[in-house]
Symmetry: C2
Subunit: 254 residues, 2 copies
Amino acid sequence: MGERWRSGAFAARAGVTVRTVRYYDRIGLLRPSGRSEAGQRWYTERDYARLQHILTLKLIGLSLEEIQQVLATDVDSETMGVLLERQKRALKEQAAHLMQVAGMIEAAQEALQSSETIDLETIIQLIKAVNMSTQVNWLDQFMTAEQQAKISQSAMQRTLPEQRAFGMALRDLFRDIQAEQKHMWDATAVENLIRRWDALLASFAAEGVELQAWIEAAYSQLDQMPGMEQDEWVQELRAAAAFIQHAKAKRNVR
Amino acid sequence: MGERWRSGAFAARAGVTVRTVRYYDRIGLLRPSGRSEAGQRWYTERDYARLQHILTLKLIGLSLEEIQQVLATDVDSETMGVLLERQKRALKEQAAHLMQVAGMIEAAQEALQSSETIDLETIIQLIKAVNMSTQVNWLDQFMTAEQQAKISQSAMQRTLPEQRAFGMALRDLFRDIQAEQKHMWDATAVENLIRRWDALLASFAAEGVELQAWIEAAYSQLDQMPGMEQDEWVQELRAAAAFIQHAKAKRNVR
DNA sequence: ATAAATCCTGACGTAACGTCAGGGGCAAGC
DNA sequence: GCTTGCCCCTGACGTTACGTCAGGATTTAT
C-alpha cells in the first residue's frame, strides 16, 4: 500500500486538527513516515493505525506521556491483539462505571420525589462515585500487559552491566528514600523521589515473580551487597514502595 | 442542618483537592456559604449538592464555563429533578458510545486474527467513532432543558425594553454577519461573531416555537422594522445560523 | 505565470488545575 | 495564657494539550 497523505488531509480524514498532528510529531508520539525535501510531512496507513491507539488510549484517560510509554515499542501484529484486547476491556469497565453512576442518580431522583430533598450521605456517595473513574490509574492495565510481554521476551537478554546499572540506581534510590524519612518532609525532594521511582518502574516494571527475579539478578551484580539476604532486599523494596505510595497519596490530597 | 466545613475538610470528604475548591470559588462556580472574620471559607450541605452537579457535568464533558451557564440560576427541588434526569441520560448515552467503540475494537480483533492485518477503512472508522463523543456538544442537552424551563416560566415577564434590546442586538448581529460574508474571511472578526451569537443564545436560547415567539416579540418592538415580513426575518435567522454553523465547523478543522 | 490553498516553524494564549512562597488563624495540650 | 502543629489564606509561576496567529515557503489548479 503506497498511499500517503500530507498533514492536512491526514488530519481531516481522522477528524483531528492539524495542530494536534504537528504537536504529536513534535513530542515524538506520532512521527510522520517521511518528509519531503521542503520539509512537509507524509503520513501512511501505519500512521493511522498508531493514531487509533493514541486516540483510544486518550479516550480511556491516559496522558500523552503515558500513551508514549505504552507505545514505546513498535506494535506488531502479535502485540496489537493484546493491546486491542486491553483497550476493549478498559472501555467496557468505563461504560459499566458510567452506568453505575447513572443508577445512583436514579436513586437520588427517587429520594427527591418521595421527600423533596436528598440526604447528605447520598450526595457524598454520588460525588465519590463520579470521582472514581478519574482517579483510576489506567496506565497500570496497559503497562502490566506491555511490560509482561516485554519482560518475558527480553528478560534474559539484559547484559550484566545493564543489570548492575539498574541495581545501582535502585540501591541509590532506596538510600535516598531512607534519608528522606529521617528529616522533615520536603515536598520537592519527595517529588523527585517519586519521579525516579516511576522512571525505574517504567523501564522495567512488571509485577509478581518477574520483577523479583529481575531485581535479584540486578542486586547479584553489585559487589557492595555481599551480606544482604534475600529477605532484606525484599523488605527494602517493600519499605520503599510503601513510602512512595504514601507520598503519592499525600501529594494528591494536598 | 447546621453542619459546616472548612475548605480542607469539605474537599477531603468529596475527594477533590483544596486547590480545586478554591479555584471554583475564584471563578464563581462554587461559592462557599460563608466566610469567617479571618477570611476562611465555610461550606455547607447545599454546597455539596452543587458540587455533585459540577462534578457530574464535568464527567460528562462540559467545560467549567459551560457548567456555569447550566447552573446559572439556583437549583431548587423542582429543577433539580430535571437536571438529574438530564445527567442520567447523558451518562447512559456515553456508556452506550463506549460500548459501541468496544464492539468495533472486537471486530478489528477478529479481522486481525483471520488476516493478520486490519484494513485502512476499518481503522479510520474506529478513529472516527473514538472521536465522536469528544465532539458532541453536550451543553445543548442541558441548555435545552434549562432554557426551556426558564422560558416557560418567565417568557411573559420580559419587559418591552428588554425585548427591544434583544431585538436590536440580534439585528446588529445579523448585519455584521452579512457584512462579514461580503469580504475576505477574517478569523478574528468571525470568532467575535461566534461569541456574540453564543452569548445571545445562551441568554435566551430555546429551540422551536419558543425561540421564534420570542424573536417575533423582540422584533415587533423595533420601530425600524416596519416592512419586514415574518418570512423574511425567519430567513434572516436561518442564514445567520448557517453562517455561524459553517464558521464553527471551519474553526474546528483549523 | 498566477493565484489560491496548503504547508512550515515559532510564539503567545487558554483551561483547569498543581506546586510553591510567605504569612495568618485555629485548636489542642501543657 | 502560651506554644506548637496543623490548617487556612492570597499571590504567582508552572504544566498539559492544544488553539490561534504571524510570516514566509511550497504545492496545486487554472
